[in-house]
């Protein structure tokens, strides 16, 4: 098996695993379908915006929850989680989205412990999906380069 075919297989397997493990859902497929030669970096660009958004929101959430428990502004926290839920849903980051849903329930209940736990969980899930997506993009780039060098 030549190198390119091997890389293609690995990429397909890796992508599959991300779906199987629930890191990504169909929305990610939808985004990939919007990419073409005229917009070859579309998915990377959208996901990069997601990373920026998520990091900003996670910072804000940490700050919102770092105050005295009695002074936690649950509406503000909920609004921030809602934003994160929205952008994770828009790129198909399913596990992040799911923790956001649980988080919002805790906000509604004004459950401080639940909120703090959810924040930790989201940070973990975000970190995981970020690493996985970065790996995916790297593999795509390498495959592209390998194909390119062969056609020369």
């Amino acid at each position: 098996m030549d190198v390119v075919t091997q890389m293609q297989r690995q990429l397909i397997q890796y992508t599959s695993s991300l779906f199987q493990e629930g890191f990504l859902d169909d929305q990610f497929n939808q985004l990939q379908q919007l990419q073409d030669e005229s917009n070859p970096e579309f998915v990377v660009e959208v996901v990069t915006l997601f990373f920026e958004d998520a990091e900003r929101l996670l910072n804000e959430l940490s700050k919102s929850l770092q105050v005295e428990q009695e002074s936690i502004d649950f509406r503000k926290v909920d609004a921030q989680v809602h934003q994160l839920k929205g952008s994770s849903s828009s790129i198909g980051a399913q596990r992040v989205q799911r923790v956001c849903i649980a988080f919002r329930n805790f906000c509604e209940q004004q459950n401080v412990e639940g909120c703090l736990k959810s924040l930790q969980e989201i940070k973990q899930e975000y970190s995981l999906v970020k690493t996985k997506l970065e790996t995916l993009f790297k593999m795509e780039k390498q495959l592209f380069a390998a194909r390119g060098s062969i056609s020369r």
């Binding site: 169909d26 828009s90 329930n105």
Partner: protein, 193 residues
């Protein structure tokens, strides 16, 4: 007078061989990028803004004054697609302002939301929204909406009744977040419609 009125009406959302000009409004970076791409793929000219206030500014409605020298570019907006939940002015408030405007009320407005709340959908439709799309918005949704408008068929007729049936399927507000339905199940629910 009558002649002017005719000219006026001709300038409104009818599209001939030209492309639709869509004004998209969303406070989310990610969603702005996605909706812009969806619309471009659907052969539309796209203007994207990040708030209801900016949308009104673009349309020339912000001062509340009706200029006689109307900005030509914004006059040619054929469709407005707005997110519902935005800080400051919500999509619903934007919808109301547009429908209150004698100049812009004929422009179809589509509301997008990640939350499948029956009362929300109903109030948007009642306020004059053409369509309520569940996020994440798909290419098929955008194509359907833009096709409809391109054909110049008033969406108010058939589409509305279709929406009524769709909203019957919606999960009532209180249980939305607690629903055991996964996002992908919701998505396939949406696409069935």
């Amino acid at each position: 007078m009558a002649a002017t009125a005719d000219l006026f009406i001709q300038r409104l959302p009818e599209v001939s061989a030209r492309e639709l000009h869509v004004l998209a409004v969303d406070d989310s970076h990610v969603d702005r990028k996605v909706i812009e791409r969806l619309l471009k793929i659907s052969s539309c000219k796209v203007t994207v803004v990040d708030s209801g206030t900016r949308a009104l500014q673009y349309l020339g409605l912000d001062g509340g004054e009706k200029n006689s020298s109307i900005d030509f570019d914004s006059m040619k907006v054929n469709l407005i697609m707005t997110d519902y939940s935005m800080p400051g002015m919500t999509g619903f408030e934007l919808l109301k302002k547009i429908k209150e405007s004698s100049i812009f009320r004929e422009i179809p407005v589509v509301v997008m939301s990640s939350e499948n709340i029956l009362t929300r959908i109903d109030s948007c439709l009642e306020e004059g929204a053409e369509e309520f799309l569940l996020k994440p918005v798909k290419l098929s949704d955008v194509k359907r909406v833009t096709d409809f408008i391109m054909r110049g068929e008033g969406m108010k007729g058939g589409k509305r009744s279709q929406k009524r049936r769709r909203s019957d399927d919606c999960i009532p507000s209180l249980t939305t977040e607690l629903s055991p339905l996964s996002p992908s199940t919701l998505a396939s629910k949406k696409s069935k419609l």
